[in-house]
C-alpha cells in the first residue's frame, strides 16, 4: 500500500497529551457530520470532556466538490475541563480540494493534515477554483501532510462484497474515521454498535462500513503512516453518570421533564425550520410520555395551536428560529393579552430574512424584547451551553405556568447542534413546577390576580361554573370583560408589565465568575459562555492577580437580575461580547447608563477564545 509522506517513517510511539482539536471536512455528501459525531461519541464515552462545532451549508447537496458544498465538523476533546470547540485545529481531515481550501487556514503549523489524494484530479481542483495541485506545489509544507488514497484503499478493502462503485465510495469516510481512531488510540466498539443499529436491515452496508473503518485502522497500523499516536486520558469531571447531549436534544428533554414535574401534558406546535427542527424530531418520539407534537401548516398555526393547547391546560411550546418568531409576533401579543402560559423557543440563526440558516448568531435579542405591537413585555430566558438548554427549558416552563405568561427561550444554531457531556441529574435535583387550575366557581373572576405573582387564574374549558370569555380586546381589570376606558387600559398595561417585572424577585441574583469587582466585567448571554469562560480563565491565570476580571453570564434577559446595576458599578470597565451589533450593550446602556463596550462579531460563527483574550488585553492595557 502506497502512501506519500514528506518525511521518513520512524517507528511509531505513543504520546500522552491533554487535548486535541480535530476537524472533519468534506463535501456535503461525504458524511462528515456522521463521521464527526461518531468520533465525538467515542471520545465522550471514553470520558474526555468535549465541545463540538458542526458547520454545514444550508444546501442539502450543493454541487459536488465546490466551495459552498463543504461541510465540517470540529471536535475539541480533552483530559481537562474545556469550554469551546477550539480556535485552531491539530488534525484536519480534508476529503477534497474544496474542503482543504476552506479549512486549511485553521490548521496549526506542523498540524496533521490527512487528505484524500484520490480527489485531487484536475477537474476536482477546478471545482475548488484551484490552479495548482497543493499536494504537489509545496504550499502545504508547513503541515504534516498525509496523502491517502481513500478512494482506492476503501475499494480494495470492500471489493469482495460485490457492491457498486458508488456505494463503496460512500464508505470512505469510515476509512478516515478508522484512521483517526488509530491516531488517538480509541476503540471502534461504539461506532460498530452504531453501524449495526443504523444499517441493521441492510447487512451488506453493516459489513461494508465496519470493514472500511477497520481497514482505515489497520492501514495506520500496517504502514506506520504516522510517527506518533496520541493518548488523551479521561477528564476529571464532576463525578456522576454522563451522556453526550446536543442543545436541541437537551431542550426536548427539558420540556419532557417540565411536563413530568408539572403534571401537564406537553404540546408542541411547530413548523419545520433550521436549526430548530430537531426539537420536533426529538419530541415526536416521546409519545410514551403523552407528548403531542403538532406539525402545523405554518409558523402562525404553530404558535396559535399552542395557545389553544395552553388554554386547554397543557404545557404548550412552539419552537422556531428568527424568521418564524417574526411570523408568530401577533400571536405572542395575544398570549400576553389573554395571559396564557406558553414557551416560544427561538433557535437563532444568521439574518436578516432567510440570512444564514445553518449559521449561528445572537441577533434576535431585541426582537424578543420588543418585537410586538404596543406594550407587550415577555420574560426571556437564554441557554448558555448545549446541555444548559435542558435547564433553560425547565426554567422557561416554570415561569410560564407560575406567572401565566408567554416566555421566550433563546438558543442558537451553535448550541442547537453543538454537543457536550452532560452529568445526568437525579430526579430530585429537578425543580418542582407546581400548577393549580382554578376550580372554584364562587365569585370567579378571570382576571383577578394573585397578589404575589400578579398572575390570573388558569381556568380551563370543561370546568363547571367557570364559563367565561377571553380575547385580544382590552379587558376590564378583574372581570375580564371588554373595556375601552382610558384609565382601565393604562392600569392593564401597567399590570402586565408589573407582572413580568415581579419575576425578578423569583430569579437568582447575579453573581460574576472570577473576580467579584475590579478592572473589567464581561457581561454576556447565550452561547458565548464557553469561549468567554475559557478566555477569562486564561487571562486571569496569565495576569496572576494583576488585573481583576469578572464574567457575568445572564440566564434571564427579561427581567434582569435585581442586583445587576450594582454589579456593573463594581468594575472600572464593562465589556459586552455578542454575536450581533451590540444588542445587550444597548439594553445595558439604556437601563443602567453604563459605558458598555461592545465586542461584536457577525460572521455566523462563534467567538474564538483568542479574539476575546485579545480584547481583554486591550482593555486592561
Amino acid at each position: 500500500m502506497a502512501t506519500t509522506t514528506d518525511i521518513p517513517l520512524p517507528k511509531t510511539k505513543r504520546e500522552v497529551i491533554d487535548r486535541a482539536v480535530i476537524r472533519f471536512a468534506g463535501d456535503s455528501g461525504d458524511g462528515m457530520q456522521v463521521t464527526g459525531s461518531q468520533f465525538t461519541n467515542t471520545v465522550a464515552l471514553y470520558g474526555n470532556d468535549i465541545a463540538t462545532f458542526p458547520d454545514f451549508p444550508a444546501e442539502i447537496r450543493a454541487p459536488a466538490g465546490t466551495l459552498p458544498g463543504v461541510s465540517g465538523y470540529q471536535l475539541h476533546f480533552s483530559s481537562n475541563e474545556i469550554f469551546t470547540p477550539g480556535d485552531a485545529v491539530d488534525v484536519l481531515i480534508a476529503m477534497n480540494p474544496a474542503a482543504l481550501k476552506t479549512n486549511i487556514a485553521d490548521l496549526k503549523a506542523n498540524g496533521i493534515l490527512i487528505v484524500n489524494s484520490d480527489a485531487f484530479a484536475e477537474t476536482d481542483l477546478r471545482k475548488a477554483q484551484m490552479t495548482s495541485n497543493p499536494l504537489e506545489d509545496h504550499s502545504l509544507d508547513k503541515y504534516r501532510l498525509f496523502s491517502v488514497e481513500l478512494e482506492r484503499l476503501t475499494k480494495t478493502a470492500l471489493e469482495h462484497l460485490g457492491m457498486d462503485a458508488k456505494s463503496i465510495s460512500r464508505c470512505k469516510n469510515f476509512f478516515a474515521l478508522g484512521m483517526c481512531y488509530w491516531l488517538y488510540n480509541r476503540s471502534m466498539d461504539s461506532t460498530v454498535r452504531w453501524i449495526e443499529a443504523k444499517f441493521g436491515k441492510k447487512p451488506l452496508l453493516v459489513e461494508a462500513n465496519k470493514l472500511a473503518m477497520k481497514a482505515g485502522y489497520a492501514y495506520c497500523e500496517a504502514t506506520e503512516a504516522f510517527q506518533v499516536s496520541y493518548e488523551i486520558p479521561p477528564a476529571k469531571l464532576e463525578p456522576g453518570l454522563y451522556r453526550n447531549l446536543s442543545g436541541n436534544q437537551a431542550l426536548a428533554l427539558g420540556f419532557v421533564a417540565a411536563s413530568q414535574k408539572s403534571g401537564l401534558r406537553l404540546f408542541q406546535g411547530s413548523y419545520p425550520i433550521t436549526p430548530a427542527s430537531d426539537i420536533l424530531h426529538e419530541l415526536s418520539q416521546y409519545k410514551d410520555f403523552g407528548v403531542i407534537t403538532f406539525q402545523a401548516e405554518d409558523e402562525i398555526a404553530a404558535v396559535t395551536s399552542a395557545i389553544g393547547a395552553a388554554y386547554a391546560g397543557a404545557l404548550a411550546i412552539t419552537t422556531t428560529s428568527g424568521p418564524g418568531m417574526a411570523l408568530k409576533t401577533e400571536a405572542m401579543g395575544l398570549a400576553v393579552a389573554v395571559e396564557i402560559p406558553l414557551v416560544v423557543c427561538d433557535i437563532q440563526r444568521g439574518g436578516p430574512s432567510t440570512g444564514l440558516p445553518t449559521k449561528t448568531e445572537q441577533a434576535d435579542l431585541l426582537q424578543a424584547l420588543f418585537g410586538r405591537n404596543s406594550e407587550a413585555p415577555i420574560p426571556i430566558v437564554a441557554a448558555a451551553t448545549p446541555s444548559d438548554c435542558f435547564w433553560a427549558a425547565m426554567e422557561a416552563s416554570r415561569i410560564a405556568v407560575k406567572y401565566m405568561v408567554p416566555v421566550i427561550l433563546l438558543s442558537d444554531g451553535y448550541l442547537a447542534n453543538g454537543a457536550e457531556p452532560w452529568r445526568i441529574p437525579e430526579l430530585n435535583e429537578l425543580p418542582d413546577i407546581p400548577v393549580k387550575f382554578e376550580t372554584n366557581p364562587v365569585d370567579f373572576k378571570p382576571y383577578r390576580r394573585d397578589p404575589q405573582t400578579l398572575s390570573r387564574p388558569w381556568a380551563v374549558p370543561g370546568t363547571p361554573g367557570l364559563e367565561h370569555r377571553i380575547g385580544g380586546l382590552e379587558k376590564q381589570d378583574v372581570s375580564g370583560n371588554i373595556n375601552y376606558e382610558p384609565l382601565n387600559h393604562e392600569k392593564m398595561v401597567r399590570l402586565r408589565a408589573a407582572k413580568v417585572e415581579a419575576i425578578a424577585q423569583d430569579i437568582p441574583l447575579a453573581e460574576p465568575e472570577g473576580d467579584s469587582d475590579g478592572d473589567l466585567l464581561i457581561v454576556a448571554w447565550g452561547s458565548t459562555h464557553g469561549s468567554i469562560t475559557a478566555a477569562v480563565k486564561a487571562q486571569r491565570q496569565k495576569l496572576g492577580g494583576r488585573g481583576r476580571i469578572g464574567h457575568l453570564h445572564l440566564r434571564h434577559l427579561n427581567p434582569l437580575p435585581l442586583n445587576l446595576g450594582d454589579i456593573l458599578k463594581r468594575y472600572k470597565k464593562v465589556l459586552v461580547p455578542e454575536l450581533n451589533m451590540g444588542q445587550l450593550s444597548w439594553v445595558l446602556r439604556a437601563k443602567f447608563l453604563v459605558n458598555a463596550i461592545g465586542l461584536n462579531k457577525i460572521q455566523g460563527r462563534p467567538f474564538k477564545q483568542s479574539e476575546l483574550e485579545q480584547k481583554i488585553e486591550e482593555l486592561l492595557d
Partner: protein, 344 residues
C-alpha cells in the same frame, strides 16, 4: 352521557350579560339566536362548550355566548381550536368566523383544519363584505364590486366557500341563511351530530355595507325560484310550483329541466349527502354560478367515515404507550450511551 342526567338547559342559559354590539338589523343577531336555541338541545353540559373566533363582526360571537369563549386573532381561530381539541377531544368546540377571517387572512388554517378533519363546527358568516373595517370587498364579493377600496370595481374572482371546503376534503359541508331560522337550526343540529369537521356557510346580510347581498334568495317572491333546498334521499326539485329539477346529463354534467311533458321526479338526481366521494357535492356547489341554476342550501355533504384528527392523535399515543409502557423520565434521561465518572 344521557340528557336525563343533565340539568335542563334553556336558551337563556347561553345568553351573557354583555351588551350585544352588532349594528341594529344585522344578520348576526339571527345566527346568535339560532345557536343559543340549538345548544341547549344537544345534551351537552354548558361547561363543555367552547366558542372560538378570529377577528371581524362575526368574531364577537363568543362574548355573547355563556360558554367558554376565546376571541383570538384574525384568521387563526381554526388553529387555536385545533390545539384545544388535541388536548381536550371531549369538548364541543364551535368556531365563529367570517368570509374575510376564514377565507382571506385565515384561508390556510381553514383548509388545513378541514383536511385534518378536526372535530370542530365552523360557522362561516358570509356577508360578502368587510364590515368591521367599514366596507371593503371580501374574497366572496362578486366581481366588479364597487366598494371603498375598489371605487372602479373589484377585479378578483370570488371564492365559493362551499366549493373551497369540499376541495379541502371537508367531511361535512352545509349552507343556510340567517333569516331562515328553522332551516338554520336544523342545519346546526345536523352539524352538531357530525363527528369530524363540520363546515356551515351561513349567508348573512350586512345591512350597513352590503345590504341585500342575498335578497334574491331571501325575498319572498324570488326565493323559491332561486333556492334548491337539499334533503338526503329526495330528488332535486325547486321552483315556486316545484316544477323544476336537476337532471344528470350523459356527459356527467347536470342540467335544469322543467317537470312535466314526460319528465318526472324519477328522472331527477336524488340527493346523496353521504356519498364518500366529493365530486357530486362539488358539482352542486358550483350550480349557482351558472345561468338558470338555483343556489343549493342544506347539507351538501355529510360523510362521517373519516376518523377525527384528535382521536387519531390519542390512539397513536395509546398504541405507543401500550407497546413501550408509560414514559419513565429517569430512564429517558439515561437513554443511549452513558459513562460514569468516578470520584477521585
Amino acid at each position: 352521557m344521557t340528557t336525563a342526567t343533565l340539568p335542563l338547559l334553556t336558551k337563556k342559559d347561553f345568553q351573557t350579560d354583555q351588551e350585544v354590539r352588532w349594528c341594529p338589523g344585522c344578520g348576526d343577531y339571527a345566527i346568535l339566536s339560532a345557536v343559543q336555541s340549538v345548544f341547549p338541545e344537544l345534551g351537552i353540559k354548558r361547561e363543555n362548550f367552547v366558542v372560538i373566533s378570529g377577528i371581524g363582526c362575526s368574531s364577537r360571537f363568543p362574548y355573547y355566548m355563556n360558554t367558554f369563549g376565546f376571541h383570538t386573532i384574525h384568521g387563526r381561530a381554526p388553529a387555536v381550536a385545533t390545539g384545544l381539541k388535541t388536548i381536550r377531544p371531549d369538548l364541543e368546540v364551535w368556531v365563529a368566523t367570517g368570509d374575510g377571517d376564514a377565507l382571506s387572512i385565515g384561508g390556510n388554517h381553514t383548509i388545513h383544519m378541514l383536511r385534518r378533519n378536526v372535530g370542530l363546527k365552523v360557522l362561516l358568516f358570509n356577508n360578502r363584505i368587510y364590515g368591521l373595517t367599514k366596507g371593503q370587498y371580501s374574497p366572496t364579493s362578486e366581481m366588479n364590486k364597487k366598494t371603498k377600496s375598489t371605487p372602479y370595481g373589484s377585479l378578483d374572482r370570488p371564492f365559493n366557500p362551499i366549493s373551497l371546503a369540499i376541495g379541502a376534503e371537508a367531511t361535512f359541508v352545509a349552507r343556510s341563511i340567517d333569516v331562515f331560522q328553522g332551516h338554520l337550526k336544523d342545519t346546526l343540529k345536523h352539524a352538531a351530530g357530525h363527528k369530524g369537521s363540520a363546515f356551515i356557510e351561513i349567508l348573512q346580510n350586512c345591512n350597513i355595507f352590503n345590504d341585500g347581498a342575498w335578497f334574491s334568495l331571501t325575498e319572498k317572491d324570488a326565493r323559491s325560484e332561486h333556492i334548491l333546498q337539499l334533503e338526503h334521499g329526495k330528488p332535486l326539485v325547486f321552483g315556486k310550483n316545484r316544477d323544476k329539477g336537476i337532471r344528470r346529463k350523459l356527459d356527467g354534467d347536470i342540467e335544469v329541466v322543467q317537470l312535466g311533458n314526460g319528465v318526472s321526479e324519477s328522472d331527477l338526481l336524488v340527493h346523496d349527502a353521504h356519498h364518500p366521494r366529493p365530486s357530486y357535492a362539488f358539482l352542486l356547489s358550483h350550480m349557482e354560478l351558472r345561468e338558470g341554476f338555483p343556489t343549493p342550501i342544506g347539507v351538501l355533504r355529510a360523510w362521517d367515515e373519516v376518523p377525527r384528527y384528535e382521536d387519531l392523535i390519542h390512539e397513536q399515543l395509546k398504541e405507543v404507550q401500550d407497546k413501550r409502557g408509560p414514559g419513565d423520565l429517569n430512564k429517558l434521561l439515561r437513554a443511549g450511551d452513558t459513562w460514569r465518572v468516578e470520584a477521585r
